[in-house]
């Protein structure tokens, strides 16, 4: 029972991050029909920018912190929320930049130039990161402290609960914005039919920039959320982005709710299989993804092209 609880909690935490990033893939895919292949690097950049903000805040409060292992107090109080906010702003700008540099020149054209240009942008971000922060992983203290809580015999890290809650709140919030607000409906109109959306007076390019900025913000926040669990590394993002992308594909890339479901599903599966046999984790997960795609090529909840009138 206690292992099951532990498994579910850590699965929901990692799954929450996968879901967040899967949703971020869906946001750019639906509105621009492109994907940001630098998303993994954006996740890592978010984690490191967050650590840097925490480091600077700690320094300002008079402690002489060690960047590679910040004291728990560095994340305490408003510091972590401030770091999340700063990461959101910087990653939003990064999303704007990648759209202008790597997507805009190729948008609406046939061909896959944007695949290479976003991968290239990611490599540039990663190399800059290596130049600034170096290759060593960095321990990030959780704002809720790193003491394991015992609930019904299961050892749960407070950060796991925080990750799950923040991811869930963000996703529910976004879902409601997309469904109820004027701008959300306009964004869905752009996703459904950019030409007709322009006829409504919607500035389609602005919406696409917004989609990239939003998607990048989610990636960065995802990185900062997971960092206290995995420790921050510039190579952390690749694996997360790949799993998140898998989750998006399983759930249906064009269905935001499907992507969220797929992300959580992958997180839970991962922690479940790891408990049984860690070596089999990747084999089982990717075997399952291939099987799902063979049976439902557009994912579990994706619109089948046949359904479109």
């Amino acid at each position: 029972m206690s292992t099951l609880l532990q498994l579910v909690v850590s699965g929901l935490a990692v799954g929450g991050v996968y879901a967040l990033i899967a949703l971020s893939f869906s946001i750019t895919f639906t509105t621009t029909k492109t994907l940001n292949f630098a998303q993994g690097e954006f996740v890592a950049a978010g984690a490191f920018l967050g650590v840097t903000v925490l480091y600077l805040l700690a320094k300002m409060s008079g402690i002489a912190p060690n960047f590679a292992s910040l004291p728990v107090s560095a994340s305490a109080g408003v510091n972590y929320p401030i770091a999340v906010l700063a990461v959101g702003v910087v990653l939003g700008v990064l999303g704007l930049l990648i759209f202008l540099a790597a997507i805009r020149p190729f948008a609406g054209q046939s061909g896959m130039n944007w695949v290479m240009s976003t991968i290239g942008f990611g490599i540039i971000v990663q190399s800059l990161g290596l130049a600034i922060w170096g290759p060593a992983p960095v321990n990030v203290p959780s704002p809720l402290g790193d003491d394991v809580i015992r609930i019904m015999g299961a050892g749960i890290r407070p950060q796991e609960i925080l990750v799950f809650v923040v991811a869930l709140v963000l996703m529910i919030g976004l879902d409601q914005v997309m469904r109820r607000s004027r701008i959300g409906k306009a964004m869905r109109a752009v996703a459904a039919n950019p030409q007709v959306a322009a006829l409504m007076g919607i500035n389609v390019t602005a919406m696409m920039i917004g989609a990239y900025a939003l998607s990048s913000v989610l990636a960065g926040i995802g990185g900062l959320l997971i960092a206290p669990i995995t420790s921050a590394s510039l190579f952390l993002g690749m694996g997360i982005a790949l799993k998140a992308f898998s989750g998006a594909i399983v759930g249906g890339l064009d269905n935001p709710r499907g992507c969220i479901f797929g992300g959580f599903l992958l997180g839970l599966l991962e922690s479940g299989v790891a408990l049984w046999n860690a070596q089999w984790r990747e084999i089982v997960i990717f075997g399952l993804i291939i099987a799902v795609l063979a049976i439902r090529p557009n994912g579990l909840f994706g619109a089948r092209s046949l359904d479109k009138v």
Binding site: R188, A198, I202
Partner: protein
């Protein structure tokens, strides 16, 4: 607006002058000139592929001109971005309806008024106006528009265009793929709009219907205007009858 004191005929609301349009190397419209006077219904008839839809897209800014100019109320809008033209008063009900399928009827209508930035109260009032024109939409107001019948989707597409409070309404093939009874309904609505003073540019393959409601009409063939006249004149024209109205009309 044109000056009412001008002694000569007022400038038309929409003036398409010598417009040419191309998809890459393929020229779809050549040197077409069309005038739509305020308060009138102008029809463009012609066979499939004659360039009618291409011309409407260019008027909306969805396709760049390769020659000529487009003027609205005397102002050159030839290079204005599509999303800004609706603010000048041009709204299109596109070919094949193209409603936003996953959004409800009410949301589709509200999107039509996106550029107007209305308060929710004014928005609701504007939506009610469309329901008065198309009562069937009201019953379906909270349904995703993909669940609507073709005729209802056409009503929605026209209603959505009207939500922009246009000075010029462009209708692209409103009869496309609809049953005869539904087409009759749609054209009744078009006549009511005309009678209320709306300026309409109507593109139709069903030439008899379009010519019957049109003040002026143009025949488009292979991207060129080959005939023009009042709707009634073209209805009686033997060449038009042979080419577009078929035997028995």
């Amino acid at each position: 607006m044109t000056s009412p004191s001008a002694s000569s005929a007022p400038a038309p609301l929409l003036e398409v002058q010598g417009v040419s349009l191309a998809y890459g190397p393929i020229v779809a419209v050549r040197d077409v000139s069309i005038a739509v006077p305020a308060g009138s219904v102008v029809a463009i008839v012609g066979a499939n592929g004659a360039g009618k839809t291409t011309l409407l897209k260019a008027i909306c800014g969805l396709l760049p001109l390769s020659g000529g100019s487009i003027r609205l109320d005397g102002a050159d809008i030839s290079t204005l971005a599509a999303h800004k033209r609706v603010g000048c008063g041009i709204a299109l009900s596109p070919e094949g309806r193209q409603v936003f399928p996953d959004q409800t009827v009410a949301d589709n209508l509200e999107l039509g008024a996106y550029w107007r930035n209305l308060s929710q109260k004014d928005l609701d009032a504007a939506v009610e106006e469309q329901f008065a024109i198309f009562p069937r939409l009201k019953e379906r107001r909270n349904q995703p528009s993909v669940t609507l019948s073709g005729g209802e989707q056409q009503m929605l597409a026209i209603g959505r265009a009207l939500m922009a409070a246009p000075r010029l309404l462009l209708l692209d093939e409103p009869s496309l793929g609809l049953a005869p009874l539904i087409i009759k309904d749609i054209f009744k609505a078009i006549v009511r709009l005309r009678d209320s003073g709306m300026t309409i540019l109507l593109v139709e393959q069903m030439a008899n219907l379009a010519l019957a409601v049109a003040d002026t009409a143009y025949v488009l063939e292979n991207g060129r205007v080959t005939m023009t006249g009042t709707g009634q004149e073209l209805l009686r024209d033997p060449k038009v009858r042979a080419a577009y109205l078929g035997a028995g009309h």
